[in-house]
Symmetry: C2
Amino acid sequence: MAEAEKAPRRRARGGGGAARRAERSAVKFDTAKYIERNVPNFEVLDEAALQAIEANAETVLEEIGVNFADNPAALDRWRAAGASVDGERVRIPRGLARKLCETAPSQFTQHARNPEKSVVIGGNNLVLAPVYGPPFVRDAKGGRRYATLDDFQKFVKLGYMSQWLHHSGGTVCEPTDVPVTKRHLDMMLAHMTLSDKPFMGSVTEPSRARDCVEMCEILFGKEFVQDNTVMTSLININSPLTFDDVMMGALEVYAENNQACIISPFIVGGAMAPVSVAGTLTQVLAEVLAGVAYSQLIRPGAPVIFGAFVSSIDMNSGAPTFGTPEASLVTYGAGQLARRLNLPFRSAGSFCGSKLPDAQAAYETANSLNMGLLAGVNFMLHACGWLEGGLVADFEKFVMDADQLGTLHGLAKGVQADEDALALDAIREVGPGGHYLGCAHTQANFKSAFWKSELLDYKPFETWEEEGARDTYALATNRVDQLLSTYQQPPLDPAIKIALDSYVADKKASLPDAFS
Amino acid sequence: MAEAEKAPRRRARGGGGAARRAERSAVKFDTAKYIERNVPNFEVLDEAALQAIEANAETVLEEIGVNFADNPAALDRWRAAGASVDGERVRIPRGLARKLCETAPSQFTQHARNPEKSVVIGGNNLVLAPVYGPPFVRDAKGGRRYATLDDFQKFVKLGYMSQWLHHSGGTVCEPTDVPVTKRHLDMMLAHMTLSDKPFMGSVTEPSRARDCVEMCEILFGKEFVQDNTVMTSLININSPLTFDDVMMGALEVYAENNQACIISPFIVGGAMAPVSVAGTLTQVLAEVLAGVAYSQLIRPGAPVIFGAFVSSIDMNSGAPTFGTPEASLVTYGAGQLARRLNLPFRSAGSFCGSKLPDAQAAYETANSLNMGLLAGVNFMLHACGWLEGGLVADFEKFVMDADQLGTLHGLAKGVQADEDALALDAIREVGPGGHYLGCAHTQANFKSAFWKSELLDYKPFETWEEEGARDTYALATNRVDQLLSTYQQPPLDPAIKIALDSYVADKKASLPDAFS
């Protein structure tokens, strides 16, 4: 609660001196505020189920334990905290992990360089960020191909221009034409200069996480970064129950610097977790408890998010499947477990297994997006652009999904029931057999009454046919072109731009080239 | 509650002697039982909003009233019940309509001729029925065209073969090649002979409703029909606040015969109801109260369903829009209002505005289907096959949507949290860094653990590409062909078949031809 009360002041303070200077000359761009839910959460676990899962998660930590591989410092920290360490296996006494989690904030502000776009992660809020991690991209013109830095920059531009996207994300696609040793620098530079929304840092090496912190110190000012969270980064747990040294090394860097991390089990149900919903939730909770507890051993109070990447599996082929009911049930349940830990919750996204942005992609994605809103997700990574089980970042699907995110904003508003909304006078005015199109209440309210797609087709059949009978995919191709051709870079203090360019050039010169 | 307790016995009794005879020789076909929700309802209205809407609905009925046009008998009934009648305007004193609604059952059994496919409508149940009413059909091969009886019969076959569809529906499309005076006979015959699932009756003339009752007396036996509900039919209210004589005439026939009706406001928000959610809910409630009360004036205890067909509007073009957040909020709220009236609830469906079964269609449909499950809908008409704002019944979309209905079955199961589902032994067996594919718990449970699409593509990219890189639409075209080519008619007592054919032939000979 204290964090919640402080948040507005922090936001008013904004992104430091550099950000304030940038803001004064900023061109206004239409980005919706992060979602503040005025609807309840959908909950599928009763108290008995919650307690059973929580008790079993403690048993998992105490009896089975978790592995912290190749990380002697982590093992030392656990030993000092009271865990039993045997080789790389850490067994955590009942209640210890949950106790350690108590110092993690229930919500926190992630600052953007444009203070109007800072986000508060936690509480009733939902922050939407784009797809993360695909090595491939796809569009109608170029087909499926390895992603490049040029693709990456285009996605950052599309994200910046998307009204319903609050966050620029991280590895929107892998710029595979840049050495893996250096691409984090180019990605960070793109987020910092082509967008003014908040972003994520690199997690592929602790040293790269340090580079990201240093670039943030240039962008926001060193002092500001010490006191404030300016990155939220993705730390995947190697499910089941394994924490690798690279991811933990990145977590250590970010937590030490008060930067936020999502601690996220990566679950393909039936492969990395039991085939049952309750079994998966038990393991997810045990993993998050261990991961969040570890973050608090690094720095008590470091901001962290209870993550749950959940897909199901086709037991015939072993392929992960998306938008399925079992994944939804796990996500609804994980939301409940996160709230009982007073932690922000990350899950859901524009998940699908389809190879094209077709009806399958849209069904699966809509299933997952709706579930994410109702599950009480606070940070939704992959909220647009995900295709083919996450192997592909798709340009058309990016703008299709981003448009649908508007429906989540509308639904989250809930129902107003004041006198104007109850509209009794309108019903009186119109009466039996009339129509409401011209009545006073409609005239006063129609502009904001209904969410309207900026992409989908609402035209009569004949008009639609005359205009070429285009499907959603074709409309989306047009929209991608239209957005990219009208993109304008948000203003940035030229001195900061020079300093960032110089940092990146120097770093690149000092690093070896490697592509894997 | 009494109704709920009686339901199983009634179901065991089945669809009368004829149906029992048919069952003994029936070929087993895989149809899921109607959904019994093990998840809560999602509710968006607080107690204050509910009370405000309920109070205002009474004000609407008392002060503004409703029109019962060209129906002197209805006006007499209302006068006798204590309403004030002025011309065709009926003003209903506060509380009277709600009081009259009390005799309507909270749930009821609709019998199918195959007793295994009888459905219980109300309570925690969800019964899924196909699209209703389109004058056009569409498929990839034939494009968009006026619907024929041949199309109608194909849809009934597809509905019969759909695992997740519990109900054969009614006017799945309009057989426009048959005179409007006669087509109800052909439609009824198709539902009765090509499927063994429950179905709906005609509402386009009271005399046609009577024909449907008579055909049911042939199929189920006259005595059985007198005591039991064997049809659920759709009575639309001419919103705002108008009840036309044709629809009411059909309602009168069905209610007199103890057959079920959905009493359903037909709302395009901003046109037939206020632009606000709370205003729309007020009008919907007033309309349903008046309609259900009227059904109970005809026959106290007649089974009825609280209906709400809800779409929003594109205020620029006036086109109805689907899968939008405002329509979802109205539906969630209407579910709450229906439950407070102890009435079964009908809403949602495979709604979309798209001209093709593309991504737009799938996003909008998935938004609406998910909302329908969570809103506590008990009878979902239009659950598959709807296209282009309801103008088109689409063959490919029918099988695409019908497949997605499986996700609702999976989600409704909720979470089991017994010892087997908690799977602690599986977590012990696998341990950190292992995988669950071969463990004992997975082996014992994998067959039923995950819902699996029978349509969507889960293959690796390379396989998918080799097989022609088909999108969902192409896969659905194949599935339609495959289903129709393997269709087998469910067995029916030959004497009944002869009697039905004879009834239809005689009726047709006695009726004039007319196409509008």
